[in-house]
């Protein structure tokens, strides 16, 4: 059995999304944005209060991560994924804002699988604990919102060959062996 390995450039179009299957190992190149617990909480509160957001979420690929501080404000520190299920509660609002996809680690609630299937918003799994390796895949980073949150601020990252696994695809498949097909 060979491991399917693919190279993809973000953002993806529907045609490309259709070709991705759960458990494919893919290298991402393009722009992604970090956001974790505190940033999600703020974004969703702002959405609910109909306030103007500091950045557009449309087609944004969100990486659930809180890096170690950058030494030069250009290169990333250690930057592996955080556990994704904590962001499940915000997923409905984020899907309504038409985000492109999410990247994190671990299993998530069924709603996230449904969103992958219906809205074509894929969930990619990044490998936990790989902070040093991912740091080398980030070519540049800048803070674009909520700088007061420190590691929990939103950073825009330009990444090159960033290794992830397709977690939930649009066909109802999951990368986790004990999840049943939707």
């Amino acid at each position: 059995m060979e491991l399917p390995i693919k190279e993809i450039h973000l953002p993806l179009d529907l045609n490309e999304i259709k070709q991705l299957k759960a458990r494919d190992f893919v290298y991402l190149t393009g722009t992604i944005y970090t956001a974790r617990d505190a940033a999600h909480q703020r974004l969703v509160e702002m959405i609910q209060n109909k306030e103007e957001l500091p950045i557009s979420l449309e087609n944004m690929y969100i990486y659930y991560a809180g890096p170690t501080p950058s030494k030069d404000n250009i290169h990333a520190g250690s930057i592996g994924p955080t556990t994704a299920y904590r962001m499940d509660a915000y997923m409905k609002e984020m899907a309504n804002m038409h985000i492109g996809g999410t990247i994190g680690k671990g299993k998530r609630a069924d709603i996230v699988r449904n969103i992958a299937q219906k809205n074509h918003i894929l969930y990619f799994v990044a490998i936990g604990g790989l902070g040093a390796k991912y740091s080398l895949c980030v070519k540049s980073m800048k803070c674009v919102a909520f700088p007061d949150l420190g590691p929990e601020a939103i950073y825009q990252l330009e990444v090159e060959r960033f290794p992830v696994i397709v977690g939930y695809d649009i066909y109802g498949n999951s990368c986790f062996p004990d999840d049943e097909k939707l």
Binding site: A65, T82, L130
Partner: protein
């Protein structure tokens, strides 16, 4: 009576805290490599290779192994013939703060669980002190990430649950942790004591090297049974399935009340960081 100045503790803790975030025990890489050789699931094999690679990169390029540089847990074994001169707790917190700021490590500690303001010093740290015979001071520094800590659980079993109840509970905790705890994990199990003591046992058990054998006959036997059963759960690296869900199980038992059977399961991810200082 041996006098140890707190300023010396400060120096040593600072140095060890820095090191702990960049270098882990060689046995972990060896164990992950062995897992790669045995793994037949191609995705899980690839994930294990990436983990080995990451540990090497962290070491070579001086990048923190994992971005979750944790809350710092410190275990101290203080010899009864040791007198510590100075304000030890303050000095330890100062050492941790400086280590985190100087090495650009992530500050993940909040002032309050509800207010949730970052202290931006990664302190206070959590310090467990124990008095032991002798005139030495042993300090173990463990930065612990939340991914695996959040998957830990404690249960007060009735004594009638016996060994089977313990095994079922541990397997449940591991299954529930799955890929969230960055497996292959190390599973610390504390049995006995009382509510808080069992939790401390479970964390102390994790301080042992992954390949050692417990000298408690019961713990030794249970570790082997549990490791085998856990590795049949098909959790695998990052939850993708496979043969290596855990690298090791470490059990620590202690005396308890006639009516209790406390069991605590502390999950440790593959980035198992600890540094020891002996003065």
């Amino acid at each position: 009576m041996r006098i140890i100045p707190s300023s010396l503790i400060y120096e040593k803790v600072k140095e060890a805290t820095k090191k702990a975030n960049f270098v882990i025990e060689e046995d972990i890489s060896k164990c992950l490599k062995k897992g790669c050789l045995n793994e037949t699931n191609p995705l899980s094999k690839k994930v294990l290779e990436e983990m080995v690679d990451n540990i090497q990169i962290a070491n070579d390029k001086h990048i923190p192994i994992c971005q979750d540089t944790g809350i710092v847990v410190i275990f101290m074994e203080i010899g009864e013939d040791v007198f510590i001169e100075g304000s030890m707790i303050n000095d330890i917190n100062k050492a941790v703060k400086e280590a985190y700021l100087e090495e650009y490590l992530r500050c993940s500690v909040l002032n309050h669980p509800i207010e949730r303001k970052n202290t931006f010093t990664n302190t206070p740290c959590i310090i467990h002190e124990k008095h032991v015979p002798g005139d030495k001071l042993k300090i173990t520094i463990c930065p612990k990430g939340a991914g695996s800590e959040n998957m830990s659980q404690l249960k007060m079993l009735p004594p009638s649950a016996k060994e089977k109840g313990i095994i079922d509970f541990v397997l449940d905790v591991v299954k529930n942790a799955g890929g969230k705890a960055c497996p292959p994990m190390i599973v610390g199990v504390g049995i006995g004591g009382n509510f808080e003591q069992s939790a401390i046992y479970s964390k102390e058990a994790l301080l042992r090297p992954i390949n050692d054998e417990s000298d408690d006959i019961y713990a030794n036997k249970l570790e082997k049974i549990l490791l085998e059963k856990i590795n049949q759960l098909n959790v695998g690296p990052m939850g993708f399935g496979g043969q290596m869900s855990a690298m090791a199980v470490k059990v620590k038992c202690g005396p308890c009340h006639i009516a209790s059977l406390p069991v605590a399961v502390n999950i440790q991810c593959h980035v198992a960081r600890h540094e020891e200082v002996i003065l």
